[in-house]
Amino acid sequence: MPGQKAILVDIKRCIGCLGCETACKQLHGFGTDPEPTLSDTAFTVVETRGDKFVRKICMHCQEPACASACPVGAISKSSLGPVLYNADKCIGCRYCMLACPYQVPRYQWTKLAPFVKKCDMCSTRIGKGGTPACVEACPAQASVFGNRDELIAEGWQRIRSDSSYVPRIYGVEELGGGCVLFVSDVPFEKLGFKPAPTGNQPMPTLTASALGDSPKVVIMGGTILSALYWVTQRRREVALAEAEEKAAINRVKGERSQS
């Protein structure tokens, strides 16, 4: 989609300085202690895999499983790219957390009024033409921000100009693609990227077929049940009429035998 923004993460260039992590925490006022995994106070973390550093962050899917899961529509995909969470609608069912194929959304377990927390790609900043805080903080051009189309071209440019890169941009097509893209010089499987459960099919297709069948099933089931009800009622009426007829005949017979 034109006009969509995205983040490109270059695992080869990442030096593991945790600048992105710290900048994100500072922006949200979370203190600056690094955390090992995503949490309700860490929307992006840098994980160490062998001698490589892998950023973990919301993938901002094109067709997000979390948004299709949310019963009240609190999660939506914005036209600019980010997948946004509306805290005013959320009821706290946490189905989004279960549905997310990357296990990104986090919950404020310690609070009495808990909300879901995740990266929003600094949507207010980029809405004003700015850059996400994490990208701004990157000293090594390992995270870059821009138009999604241009970033895909930029990714392929980096892959072509350096034969050590794996010829694949993760996030363009996986599960229908997203607005966070990865290029790497180590195969993604070795960096903890799990194989996509539905290949390049977006996750919501998993439930769409089951939900799509339901009107048919309801109409068919309703018709069949009504028909069965009609049949049983009719049978009852017939049985009643027959019994009455029999009783009438018997009565006539009885009268005759008496006379």
Binding site: C70, K89, G92
Partner: protein, 393 residues
């Protein structure tokens, strides 16, 4: 005085007292200290015992209401009319426990009404919410005559019952469709966890599996409840009806077993059952409790014709069903989610409190309302009415 108090302390009263004290304390912890203090849920395991036991088992075990009401009202199987009200009551109370559990589960319980006005058609959970809300209303309607007929004002009572009777069939039909929908949608919830659920359970036909397994389990719970009412509340139901239910349960279990096996074959998941993993163990526990043992027991004439044996066979069905739902909601997901989850005692205590409240409500409804025919004659094991035909023995 002391002797009177002492004689009032019975085993079950002590159990109920323990359940209510621990449960109320757990409720306090949940609502005043939050999830961290009251659960072992985590970012890796966002759904736990409340969903598995409270919602999945609660809704599934309440399936008899729509089954029996469809049989009696729509299919004209008058034979089951004596247990109709009891099954509707069980479903009604079951759904009330699910609604109560919903308030524990969601993080912002004061927003429980949001799904009514904020819609997301793509969401299976939205459909589940709407179906459960509507169906609870339908069950209230179906159960209402039992209360209305106790009203002291004759004209009001009869007008309401007359109007009720006029639209009953339509409502029953709607109820059957609604509950069929959300019984299966509860399974449909887990379609989205593709890649995280163990292949022994994950299937693209999760929803069908949930639907097929719920009906025998709901029937089994109804048989159990009626047996207990016969034993302790002077209820006298023709035992041959329950015996037939036993046969029906067995048939439904065989149907479910058939499709479950086909599904495993189609997903090429059968070999996982023979690996030395915890999941395989849970799988076999489920197979034995839910399918093998009940199908075998219910095929024996001496089990089906003996109330106590039938009761225990149904208890195995219910236990097996609960194993299945807990396997789907917890055991099959732990590895895929990278979680190690053991419920906290407060999670269990609050779930048990809600269930116990439902059981108590059932008891008092049977005592004070016309739910099941009552008679202070004969030992219940020998009681036979006229083929179950008279609704009020």
């Amino acid at each position: 005085m002391i002797a009177r108090i002492k004689s009032g302390i019975t085993f079950w009263r002590v159990i109920i007292a323990i359940i209510f004290t621990t449960g109320l304390y757990a409720t306090y912890v949940r609502f005043f200290m939050g999830f961290k203090a009251s659960t072992n849920l985590s970012d890796q395991m966002p759904w736990g015992l409340w969903v598995g036991l409270g919602t999945l088992c609660g809704v599934g075990l309440s399936a008899a209401g729509f089954g029996i009401s469809a049989a009696v009202y729509l299919l004209g199987m008058e034979r089951y009319r004596p247990i109709l009200r009891a099954s509707i009551l069980i479903s009604f109370l079951g759904y009330l426990t699910v609604c109560a559990g919903y308030l524990y589960e969601i993080g912002l319980p004061w927003r429980f009404w949001h799904p009514i006005v904020m819609w997301n058609h793509e969401s299976v959970l939205f459909d589940v919410c709407v179906c459960i809300m509507t169906y609870t209303t339908v069950l209230t309607f179906e159960f209402a005559p039992a209360v209305i007929e106790k009203l002291p004002w004759k004209v009001l009572r009869e007008t309401v019952l007359y109007l009720h009777h006029k639209i009953l069939i339509g409502v029953v039909l709607m109820g059957v469709l609604l509950s069929s929908m959300h019984q299966s949608y509860l399974g449909g919830l887990y379609l989205l966890v593709s890649g995280k659920m163990h292949p022994l359970w994950y299937s693209q036909y999760m929803h069908a599996m949930f639907y097929l397994s719920a009906i025998p389990a709901g029937l089994a719970l109804t048989v159990m409840a009626i047996y207990l009412s016969m034993r302790s509340l002077h209820v006298r139901v023709d035992f041959s009806i329950l015996s037939d239910c036993g046969r029906m349960i067995q048939l439904l279990l065989i149907v479910f077993a058939f499709f479950r096996f086909l599904d495993l074959l189609a997903n090429q998941a059968l070999h996982y059952a023979f690996q030395r993993t915890a999941e395989a163990g849970y799988f076999w526990l489920e197979m034995v409790l839910f399918l093998a043992v009940p199908i075998f027991l219910l095929s024996l004439e001496q089990v089906r014709s003996n109330p106590e044996k039938l009761y225990w066979a149904c208890a195995v069905v219910v236990a097996g069903f609960m194993t299945n739902r807990l396997n789907v909601s917890i055991n099959s997901l732990q590895a895929g989610l990278g979680a190690h989850y053991v419920p906290k005692w407060t999670e269990l205590a609050s779930s048990v409190l809600v269930i116990a409240a439902g059981v108590l409500a059932f008891r008092y409804a049977v005592i004070y309302l016309n739910i099941l025919p009552k008679a202070k004659v004969q030992s219940f094991t020998r009681w036979m009415s006229n083929g179950g035909l008279p609704a009020q023995a």
